[in-house]
Amino acid sequence: MRRTTTVAVAALSAGALVLTACGGRGGPASSGDTKISGDKIVLSVLNDQSGVYADLSGKNSVEAVKMAVDDFKAKHGDNAVTQNIEVITADHQNKPDIANTKAQELYDRQQADVILDVPTSSAALAVANVAKAKKKVYINVTAATTELSGAQCNKYTFHYAYDTYMLANGTGTTVTAEGAKNWYIVYPDYAFGQDMEKSFSTAIQGAGGTVIAKDPTPFPNDNFSTFLLKAPGLNPKPDVIGTMQAGGDLVNLVKQYNEFNLRDQGIKLSVGLMFITDIHSLGVDAFAGTTFTEAWYWNFDDQNRAFADKFKQRTGIVPTFAHAGNYSAALQYLEAIQRAGSDDADDVVAELEGHEFEDVFARNGKIRAEDHRMVHDAYLAEVKPASEASGDWDYEKIVRTIPADEAFRPVGQGGCTL
């Protein structure tokens, strides 16, 4: 009797072991043998494929990277440093601890030469530390935190596409310069919101405007009536409300902004962070007239439209800035390898630093050597009413182009020491 029980217990444990062995690839990291053979380049996309960022980036970013690989091969033909280029992906589910583990696994076990994308600031920063430890290249495309090119910068980490400074500075400066001098800022009371508010206030004051009042709101929050109702009563009356809310909170705020008819009372709305997917989900008419800074828009010029068509054929949807950004990051990475002649991380980093380029995503693009911040022209966009749209997903009107050297935080201000 006792024997059968022990056997059963042992069987249970053995079963558990088998289960774990099925999933695992254990053993110590092969020390010293981390150099990938120059014959294969592995690009990995680590992002959120089931949560908040799934539509903005998600699985379609993997397609964008694959497009970049195809275009790279087509351009260089037989002269390409190698034809053996692989694209892999993992879903971090917006959880930084999963991002951290997956990043290690991608570099260690799956021979990834570069990790791309990584939305969500906490995940983005965690992966930056992994890249630093593993000494492998990491190009972040979709996180907003300026820390990546600031206090937490490192040799192997690059920040592509956008950050909170670009967004705040773009909108704050441009909208103020266009005549909206008095601002009322509403921001969610957490890291992102606080950062945006500071950058916005600085930009506004720099352009000659005034921040009449600024209120932190709870995060998350679904009733912004307090703040919205306060606006018309401020003295002087604000010309525009700057909101730093994102996602569901932004949707709530805009709904209520419309409910209180603030636009008719002469108070416009500027959004710190907005994605084309937000406009799509809430509906153009709710957002019509709202201004925000955009990193890239598909219907801006012929080059963008051509890319959008190709992308739409592959994926069925119009590309967001994240998709275009991933395409560009992958392409520039491959080009850097081409120039360096090797995929060794240090060689590639040397080629990326200081590189100036133009591609479909980046106009006047440059990867700054001092802080690994990629700068490019940004755009002040305004949401078009449905009546002005020329087709599906044509939500934005580019009001002004913000030149690359104005759009991003000046070198040396972020606290990055490389």
């Binding site: 009797m1 006792r2 059968t4 029980t5 022990t6 059963a8 217990v9 042992a10 249970l12 444990s13 558990a16 072991l17 289960l19 774990t20 062995a21 999933g23 695992g24 690839r25 254990g26 053993g27 110590p28 990291a29 020390s31 494929q49 089931s50 699985k59 992906t89 993992a90 879903d91 971090h92 589910q93 959880k95 930084p96 601890d97 999963i98 951290n100 583990t101 997956k102 290690q104 696994e105 076990r109 600031s121 906490s122 920063l125 965690a126 930056a128 530390n129 430890a133 935190t145 820390e147 937490q152 009371d189 957490y190 890291a191 992102f192 606080q194 995060f219």
Partner: protein
């Protein structure tokens, strides 16, 4: 399982222990090392919750507060003092214990389901505080770049760090084991089974519950502190309520009141999540939720508990049933596990 344990022979327990140790030592060979450490710390976390749930009858749905608070403390100590990681981990456990005193004091006044709701609400409070207290916790960005050191020994390879961290986990598990098998543990079980009777016998029930709560929180803190060092960062996820839900799921899945069950539950859930992350499968919540529902409705003893129950049924089929004292009115978790 509880009844079963009480009558099992010493050598059988040793055999189970030996098997467990072998698995624990071999784990980083079978599983990706950072995941192996994750399994170990979640196992300790799950055991700490089971200590309260299975042996005191209190479902804490807010244990992430202790896990997370300890993680932040451990991370901060490591960053600001550069002390060996053990110091940070212990500091985390102390922080968790300190936090557990006021929360526990207010929570144990309520029982059963009320207790679950109150602990959940307190954990949510801590989440918002951590979010606000950005200068300390890093807020949404998280607490990054937590170092790990041990008097100059290089611990950067997760494979070797597993063996550095394993003793802490084993100590915590051993402590849980001792608590359960001590006279204190028996009083707790008496309180779980019939609080009125325990009170009538003169035991200060609330104080016992509070002490159990603090001990459980300390173990959760030990696990959380180690978690922070393993990952090298702490995020708001660690104090967010789905983390409390995840650990409860591990306990229920494995088997309430068995201590081994939660360890198994942790192994399965961590592996499942890791698997789902790479498989591209888009229905994690449906899978985990459905599994949870099935276990709660059909296999209340959990995997471990059901297995050993079946074994003991099979074992006893030749023996006539021993006479049992009539049930006292109030249902309790343990009694329900032994019925039907």
């Amino acid at each position: 399982m509880i009844r079963y344990l009480a009558e099992s022979q010493r050598w059988l327990r040793l055999a189970m222990l030996a098997t467990g140790l072998v698995v624990a030592l071999a784990l980083p060979w079978l599983v990706y090392p950072p995941v192996a450490m994750d399994i170990a710390v979640w196992a300790l976390f799950a055991v700490s919750v089971d200590l309260l749930l299975g042996y005191v009858g209190l479902l804490s749905f807010g244990h992430a507060a202790f896990w997370g608070a300890a993680a932040y403390t451990s991370g901060l100590v490591a960053i600001h003092t550069g002390a060996p990681y053990i110091v940070g981990v212990l500091a985390g456990a102390v922080a968790a214990a300190a936090l557990a005193v006021p929360i526990g004091y207010l929570s144990v006044r309520r029982t059963g389901i009320y207790f679950a709701m109150v602990t959940l609400a307190f954990a949510q409070l801590l989440y918002f505080v951590a979010n606000q207290w950005r200068d300390v916790t890093g807020g949404e960005n998280g607490l990054q770049a937590v170092p790990r050191s041990l008097f100059g020994v290089d611990l950067s390879d997760p494979f070797y760090f597993y063996y550095a961290g394993l003793p802490i986990v084993l100590l915590g598990l051993a402590a849980a084991w001792r608590i359960v098998r001590s006279p204190f543990g028996r009083v707790l079980m008496a309180i779980r089974d019939n609080p009125a009777r325990a009170r009538a016998l003169g035991y200060p029930v609330d104080r016992y519950k509070l002490l159990a709560f603090v001990l459980s929180a300390t173990l959760a803190g030990l696990a959380g502190g180690l978690f922070a060092v393993n990952h090298g960062f702490v995020s708001l996820q660690e104090v967010y309520w789905p983390t409390s839900g995840k650990v409860v799921m591990m306990v229920v899945l494995g088997g309430i009141g068995t201590l081994w069950g939660p360890i198994l539950g942790a192994l399965l859930v961590v592996q499942l999540e890791d698997f789902l992350a790479t498989s591209g499968f888009d229905g994690i919540g449906i899978v985990t939720g459905s599994v949870f529902i099935i276990v709660v409705v059909l296999f209340r003893r959990g995997l471990w508990g059901t297995t050993s129950h079946l074994i003991s049924l099979w074992r006893d089929r030749r023996r006539p049933p021993s006479p049992r004292p009539p049930d006292v009115d109030e249902p309790s978790l343990a009694r329900e596990l032994e019925k039907a």
